[in-house]
Symmetry: C2
Subunit: 331 residues, 2 copies
Amino acid sequence: MTTEEAPSALDIRAAEERLRSISLPITPVMTSSILNASTGRNIYLKCENFQRTGSFKSRGAVNAVLTSIQRDPNIKGFVTHSSGNHGQALSYAASIVKRPCVVVVPRGTPKNKTDAIEHYGAELVVCDPTPTSRTETCLKISEERDFMIIPPFDHPYVIAGQGTIAVEFLEQIKNLDAILVPVSGGGLISGISLYAKHINPKIRVFACVPEGKMLQECLREEKRLWPNPPKFLQTKCEACRLQQCGTITFPIMCSLVEKQVFTISEETMIKATRFAFERLKLVIELAAGLSLGAILYHSDQLDSSIRNVGVVLCGGNIDLSVSLPWHDGDN
Amino acid sequence: MTTEEAPSALDIRAAEERLRSISLPITPVMTSSILNASTGRNIYLKCENFQRTGSFKSRGAVNAVLTSIQRDPNIKGFVTHSSGNHGQALSYAASIVKRPCVVVVPRGTPKNKTDAIEHYGAELVVCDPTPTSRTETCLKISEERDFMIIPPFDHPYVIAGQGTIAVEFLEQIKNLDAILVPVSGGGLISGISLYAKHINPKIRVFACVPEGKMLQECLREEKRLWPNPPKFLQTKCEACRLQQCGTITFPIMCSLVEKQVFTISEETMIKATRFAFERLKLVIELAAGLSLGAILYHSDQLDSSIRNVGVVLCGGNIDLSVSLPWHDGDN
């Protein structure tokens, strides 16, 4: 695989072996009698909240760092921009190969996330909270220090790493009819759909997004209808603020992901997150409330032939030093 | 087994089969690299927060109800007193055998718990928040309606049900050296120690309690040193407010449980609960913060020969409609 193409199913298999070599956990799949009863389907929760660094992002970051170092052992360090989870993941990944790491974060990133990034050893650089400022700051540091940029989603090594979720999920649950995936830049759903559709072309992969994402229109027309420069969405879900998907991920999504997109309101996302805490006893972040919200409150929109539904709970990094998202008006 | 004696390991095995017959879940055992690193031991978390009704209590209640109905199919209904978790569990257990159920709760029981009791169909009766008022109200209802009393802990069927945790745990993890168990009335630790010590007399079972419990003194002298009438402890942990252990459970504890007791401060209990949420991504209740707090912050008190430590996370029923326990001064 080159650095500008979509990874193959073989690349994703290789990524899985790379993650096993450093003992990254195989995350558990959980079921819930309440969830099955309330949806009338068999729901399987892929718990990436239990993944190292608290989200699926460590898969992509670790695969990217290990693959890069294999190809060029002289790499001096790594740099990225991230609203939090990818930064934390790259900080962790760089620590495995004992290389320095810089993470560019937008002002306003929750303290629990910046603390966690620093916990694994990376240096923080704060930039303006716009997509443009993030990429520019990142590029500048890369040039000044000769560090390799590992972007949060639009990179084949990263996508291949996220795809390892599908390798595990399809081995854990043999008869999945569909997988529901939260989407921000699209790395997660690209990796998952590339592998899952290769193994079983009948599996349907659905995107779950916050309001204002315009993803359904873009997928239906197979065109980037998003306004430029890229903008951020108004949502409490920091991990899904970016409106645009990537230039590598979007074409993958156009060819493999269902045109029917689950657009989840803030209220539904928060309600689903609360359901996870209160009924499932799982700490999840709001982005995971998108896919859980889709199955909990919009399963009527799902074709009735779909019986066995995989739901990716993408992470559990929610700021618990402040009030919970469903405690109105005090956060 | 009579209704006044300790259950045997065989009774506990039979209870396990009974729970399997109605598909009560085998709860997962989770591990955490952070926890292993910070304690220098192998820590295995038995996740009773994922048990039906959100705590281990459904094991005892289901076993008691099923055993009672087997012996007397004409039982009219069930009644108990409970600060919440056992009430919820008995409500659920009675619904399985389609019998009416009354749960006596002390005033001030959190709404999330009373809602959950009613959710499974039981009728609520509120009493004064003293141990004496609870037992008297319960007795009165039992006599008036001819309902069978299923006490929260001091009953061999209940103890046998809780002991099924050990049946599963010892099959899931073959080389446990010790098990840390939160203690209130003592049903949980009695069931676990009866089975675990029968299978492997070298396993050490430790009690973890809030301050003021006086359990270590009582166990060392093998005497009930607690003042009468029974009193409640000053703690945020509703599930562990009762100071005294039971008359059936205490002798079991004297013969099988370590004399060294882990007494956990409020601060440590809350800190451990926060650790579970933030780092383990598990929603646990404060009582589970007792056993987790013991291993997280007092593992220096644990004999260095103990390498593989089972920690029972007894439940996940924490009220999330109000502020989290570590948010000072606003709950």
